[in-house]
């Protein structure tokens, strides 16, 4: 089935016959990733031409609002985009995902499944619904371990599980291992999820809104834990969130998504200090900040996020952008390319360099 969809997808979109045979040097390299879901109302272009790279030991923050395609991106890296609702079964995917020299989109489904949970693992948003209510926390982690260590005995797996629970800060792990998810608090459950994800020492960890369902004091604990564990295990981490505060805490690089595309990407400090895209400005202006003087008004982006079935023409952000006039109509008609706007800093915007810099320093930054 996957073969069929793949060929039809390739036929539907641009030709991708000519795959470069040379694997990229980066640990994770995503090239022109597209994930489209045909529905009765039209094709939902959840991810539409996304590229990025990530090295081991580094953290990439993917930021976006609901419907920006950030979650689908992470699921499709793991080959899980077909999972869930029925419509996802017909998902069309194209592009390349290279993990440690191995291309995953064209790879055999069994091979990807084998990597899943072993070389690449994921933490989900709501740890209550993400764990099976009928199995004990221990059973679920033991299972995750034994899938990829079939020769390990139950006893060994259990020992390893208790070690992991201890490592993620669960008190009395040898006793709590037999508890069920509902007997854990929200923060403990997320710790257990992290233990489950890390039990096989993955070199890529994807955390999809890992703290959104948690209280702020627990969020701080979990963010600290993720940071410590990354240092210890040296894995590459992708953290997906809508919260700029969370990425600022963790990410080395930030990628801002809008309407299924990357609109800005660069080192964290650059994105926060010299953002170049009006949407990024809007996100920064939308959030009240505790670390600055209180402003009288927030400066939100007008309007709502676009429909992924019917993206606006040209720059998808143009109906909400206050600066379209400065582009001489280009933003309504031409899809902006991601261009280098600074060192390792890319943005997809039609505004000229001078305009962008003037707007940021004169209009946006002072109001933050």
């Amino acid at each position: 089935m996957s073969k069929l969809t793949k060929t039809s997808a390739a036929a539907d979109m641009e030709p991708t016959e000519e795959r470069p045979t040379d694997a990229p040097s980066e640990f994770l390299s995503v090239r022109d990733l597209k994930v489209h879901f045909p529905t009765d109302d039209g094709v939902v272009k959840s991810v539409d031409g996304l590229s990025f790279t990530l090295e081991k030991g580094k953290t990439l923050g993917i930021v976006g609002e609901s419907g920006s395609g950030k979650s689908v991106t992470s699921l499709s890296i793991l080959g899980l985009h077909r999972v869930g609702s029925n419509r996802s079964r017909n998902a069309r995917i194209s592009g390349e995902v290279w993990l440690d020299g191995e291309e995953l989109i064209s790879a055999d489904a069994a091979r990807v499944r084998d990597l899943r949970g072993q070389k690449m693992a994921m933490i989900f948003q709501d740890p209550l619904t993400a764990m099976h209510p009928f199995f004990s926390v221990g059973q679920q982690i033991i299972e995750a371990y034994r899938v990829h260590h079939p020769s390990a005995s139950k006893k060994e797996a259990r020992k390893r599980t208790i070690e992991m629970l201890d490592r993620v800060g669960i008190p009395q792990p040898d006793r709590r291992v037999d508890d069920y998810p509902h007997q854990f608090s929200g923060g403990m459950r997320q710790r257990a999820m992290i233990a489950m994800a890390l039990v096989n020492d993955p070199s890529l960890l994807i955390a999809d809104e890992p703290t959104t369902a948690l209280d702020v004091t627990v969020q701080a604990q979990i963010l600290d834990l993720i940071r410590d564990l990354q240092k210890e295990f040296g894995s590459a981490v992708i953290i997906i969130t809508h919260d700029l505060g969370v990425v600022a805490e963790l990410a080395d690089d930030i990628l801002v998504m809008y309407g299924g595309r990357c609109i800005e990407r660069g080192p964290s400090e650059t994105i926060f200090e010299q953002p170049q895209h009006p949407y990024t400005w809007g996100l920064l202006g939308s959030m009240p900040r505790l670390d600055r003087e209180r402003t009288d008004r927030l400066n939100p982006v007008k309007g709502s996020p676009p429909s992924l079935i019917n993206l606006p023409s040209g720059c998808a952000f143009h109906p909400r952008c206050p600066y379209t006039d400065l582009t001489e109509g280009a933003s309504q008609t031409v899809v902006p390319e991601l261009r280098e706007v600074g060192s390792r800093h890319l943005a997809a915007c039609h505004l000229g360099k001078a305009d962008r810099e003037r707007i940021w320093t004169e209009e946006i930054a002072p109001k933050l």
Binding site: L80, G84, Q118, P133, Y180
Partner: protein, 332 residues
């Protein structure tokens, strides 16, 4: 857990007592109110007055309702004596009294009918569980396929067609026209093969109806479960699809099916009235219809209590199984 079990059993006892009181009230009070006389039913219309009075006294029908109910309960637990002067009849516990019509003891009658009903219910339930949940699972996994659509149309037919239609149709085709199958109940202990051969038609007819419901229920539940986050987690671990479905998804799909199954099987043991009547199986349901048409109060009372007992016990078993399956129930 033990405390829970004891409490539940006490509940069962209380519930049965209430059911017995209500049933007793209905079946012994109503004739009184409508002016028909249970004693007359025993001896027949042509009997002389003295004989009627004698029976009335012997059966205790001249006592107050409360006293009669007490005697009835006493009969259930320790047995009772029916006496008319020197003519004493002992009815040992559990005593449901005597049939008005045949003057047989009700309890042995019930025990006699039970195997038929149990045979019918057990065979049919196995078939509908396997077929119903099986097709439901396949339908859910191959959603919108031809197979799924065909199954769901068939299931719709199964739910809508009455059993006396499908049953009689099956009888006329396989027994009367083709002559492939017999239709005489044989005890399992006498000849298991003949037992099955005779029951296969009622089983399938009854199972068709239930399998349809179960297929739809299974399909809907499984589809819902497959959308759950923990299924995504299971896949993210790298589990093989058959394990994701077989271990993680089906475990959650089981619970609602279990509930419905418990209720169905309880009700069925209480009497599959239409099926038994259609196939002329002399089970509890058959007996109930018979007794009602003849106003045979002790038998009606016996069958009703028997049925209530099975429904309540099935519910109890379901609840206990629920606790086994779902730790949230077990551990609060």
């Amino acid at each position: 857990m033990l405390v829970y079990l004891i409490r539940r059993l006490v509940n069962v006892a209380v519930l049965l007592l209430v059911v017995s009181a209500i049933t007793f009230g209905i079946f012994f009070m109503v004739p009184k109110l409508t002016g028909s006389d249970p004693a007359l039913l025993y001896v027949g219309k042509i009997a002389d007055k003295a004989a009627v009075e004698g029976i009335r006294h012997k059966m205790g029908l001249d006592k107050s309702i409360a006293e009669q109910y007490f005697l009835f309960l006493k009969g259930l637990f320790v047995g009772r004596d029916y006496s008319q002067g020197t003519d004493v009849t002992h009815c040992s516990a559990p005593c449901f009294g005597y049939s008005f019509k045949t003057e047989q003891e009700v309890w042995p009658l019930l025990l006699d009918r039970l195997p038929v009903t149990l045979s019918l219910a057990s065979g049919a339930s196995v078939i509908w569980l396997v077929v119903g949940t099986g097709t439901g699972i396949v339908s859910a996994l191959r959603r919108r396929s031809v197979l799924d659509r065909a199954t769901m149309v068939t299931a719709l037919a199964g739910v809508s067609l009455p059993i006396y239609f499908t049953g009689l149709l099956a009888l006329s085709i396989f027994v009367n026209t083709l002559g492939w199958l017999p239709n005489n109940y044989v005890n399992f202990t006498d000849d298991p093969v003949e037992w099955a051969r005779n029951l296969i038609l009622p089983w399938i007819t009854l199972a068709f109806l239930y399998a349809a419901t179960y297929a739809r229920l299974t399909r809907a539940t499984l589809l819902e479960v497959l959308g759950e986050d923990y299924i995504r987690t299971a896949r993210a671990k790298g589990l093989k699809e058959n394990k994701v479905i077989g271990k993680h998804a089906l475990r959650s799909t089981m619970t609602p099916i279990l509930t419905v199954f418990g209720l169905d099987i309880g009700a069925l043991i209480g009497g599959a009235v239409l099926t038994e009547k259609t196939f002329d199986l002399r089970g509890l349901g058959y007996e109930a219809v018979q007794a009602i048409s003849q106003s045979d109060l002790p038998v009606i009372l016996g069958v009703t209590l028997f049925a209530a007992f099975f429904v309540i016990m099935a519910n109890l078993v379901v609840d206990l199984l629920y606790a086994v399956v779902d730790p949230r129930v077990r551990l609060g």
